[in-house]
């Protein structure tokens, strides 16, 4: 059952991407960035296992529902997963503060890559404000995603939990 926890977190954050929330135009980058923060969190969590191809599938699904260039969110999901996996491998996941800080850096890097790829894709410099706003707000929303992860891990019996003291 514990194997389902990352999937449930991703499905929940994907719903934010798919459902029309009526956000203002400049904030539309936020829901996919929250989904990427969930990818990052699940990849970094020592007690969770999120295969990289699952993260990419969710990214591709986000491409479909947001009418983004196909492969765009898929690529960014791979980056988010890579950042989370790096933290897990380096065993820097014991404190939530460090993880939050790491997501701040990863979100900034992902936003930069997103802006660059999109600018190349459209052959023009796209507006950086929505990208920066989405990344910034995802940093603020990161603890909420972490709380959801914590709640889910509470609901799902998991005898294999070894770490996770960093969760709020």
């Amino acid at each position: 059952m514990a194997a389902l926890a990352p999937l449930i977190v991703l499905v929940l954050t994907f719903l934010l991407v798919a459902v029309p929330l009526g956000l203002p135009g400049d904030a539309t980058f936020l829901p996919p960035m929250l989904m990427l923060s969930a990818v990052f969190l699940c990849a970094a969590n020592p007690s969770m296992r999120l295969p990289v191809w699952v993260a990419m599938l969710f990214g591709l699904a986000a491409d479909i529902v947001t009418a983004s260039p196909v492969g765009f969110w898929g690529l960014l999901a791979l980056l988010a997963h890579g950042a989370g996996s790096f933290l897990k491998a380096a065993e820097w996941t014991e404190r939530f503060g460090i993880l939050w800080l790491a997501w701040s850096g990863a979100a900034a890097a992902i936003a930069l890559v997103a802006w660059g790829v999109a600018s190349v894709y459209f052959f023009r410099a796209i507006g950086w404000e929505p990208v920066a706003l989405g990344a910034g707000l995802s940093v603020l929303g990161f603890p909420l995603v972490a709380v959801v992860v914590k709640l889910l891990r509470g609901w799902i019996p998991d005898k294999q939990i070894r770490a996770g003291a960093w969760l709020p």
Binding site: A18, G22, V52, I126, V131
Partner: protein, 307 residues
């Protein structure tokens, strides 16, 4: 643990890492290849996107219900709070509209008389299909929404989409049960419009900002903030006279505040307008058979009533 066992574990871990690297490389390659194919407009990508959108319609419809419910609840609560002010406002508006109703009736009679005198051929009323927004595709790259109206309702790519407030956009891809609407604010949206009472021609160009700009205004055009903007139909794709919005801003940078709130809308109608240009673009005739562009004939007289 023997030396050979340790060596075996180390080899296994190394092989796993190697396998993971290959998987990662393949996934990055796939993502990049998809981006490139998407950029060159590969048909398979578009078809797959449309098919997947179609496939996801039931799930998206089910998922959007709570969101719509919450939005409806909030709107209802707001209305209840503002009820007294709203009643006063509606009374005043009703008075104003009554005088307009009388004027409209008089003008309608006069128009009927003039049309009879000029022997103008009547335009058939536009048919439409209504649906609901089931997914929000407004991102940094595209301003679009997915609606639950598709080929099964008879709609085609290029049809205009409106709501009760005005023009919303046009269909860009049509699946069996769902279609994607390109909003007026999208970077790729271009709509020929009339501005103000002088019916000055311009092109409404989306740039992903909240208020699209007006391009190709003639030099010295006398327009100003508050002037109405409506579709001119000069592209041969959209019907003439659809309400688009009003001008905001001054100087050379005229912008249009769209009449429809493109951040919040739930129901839309797709207008069945088979203009000659649209039929050529779709490569089909009235019966849905493929035709050469030079054999396409107009479905309605060129003479039409101005809005």
């Amino acid at each position: 643990m023997s030396h050979s066992q340790r060596k075996g574990f180390a080899f296994g871990a190394k092989r796993r890492r190697g396998g993971q690297s290959v998987t990662l490389f393949v996934l990055y390659f796939i993502a990049t290849a998809l981006l490139v194919l998407s950029r060159v407009g590969h048909e398979t990508i578009d078809e797959a996107r449309t098919a997947l959108s179609d496939w996801s319609v039931p799930a998206l419809e089910m998922l959007t219900m709570p969101a719509h419910g919450i939005r409806y609840g909030v709107a209802r609560a707001r209305t209840t709070i503002d009820l007294l002010d709203e009643v006063a406002r509606l009374r005043a508006e009703n008075q104003r509209l009554k005088s307009w109703e009388w004027r409209a009736k008089m003008l309608n009679q006069r128009v009927d008389q003039l049309r009879t005198l000029l022997n103008v051929v009547e335009e058939p009323a536009l048919e439409f299909a209504s649906g609901r927004v089931i997914a929000d595709g407004r991102g940094p790259f595209m301003r679009s929404v997915l609606i639950n109206v598709g080929r099964s309702q008879g709609v085609k790519a290029g049809y205009a989409v409106i709501n009760s407030e005005g023009l919303v956009g046009r269909l860009v891809s049509v699946g069996g049960a769902a279609s994607r609407v390109l909003l007026l604010t999208d970077l790729k949206s271009r709509v020929p419009v009339y501005v103000g009472e002088g019916r000055i021609r311009a092109v409404l160009a989306g740039d992903n900002s909240a208020a699209p700009r007006l391009d190709f205004l003639p030099e010295g055009a006398k327009i100003g903030a508050g002037d109405d903007v409506y579709s001119s139909g000069h592209d041969g794709l959209l019907p003439r006279g659809l309400r688009v919005g009003t001008i905001v801003g001054e100087g050379a940078d005229y912008r249009v505040r769209t009449a429809a709130d493109l951040n919040r809308f739930e129901f839309v109608s797709v207008l069945f307008f088979d203009a000659p240009a649209l039929m050529t673009a779709n490569g089909i005739d009235e019966e849905g058979k493929p035709v050469a562009a030079d054999t396409v004939k107009p479905t309605r007289p060129v003479v039409s009533a101005a809005p």
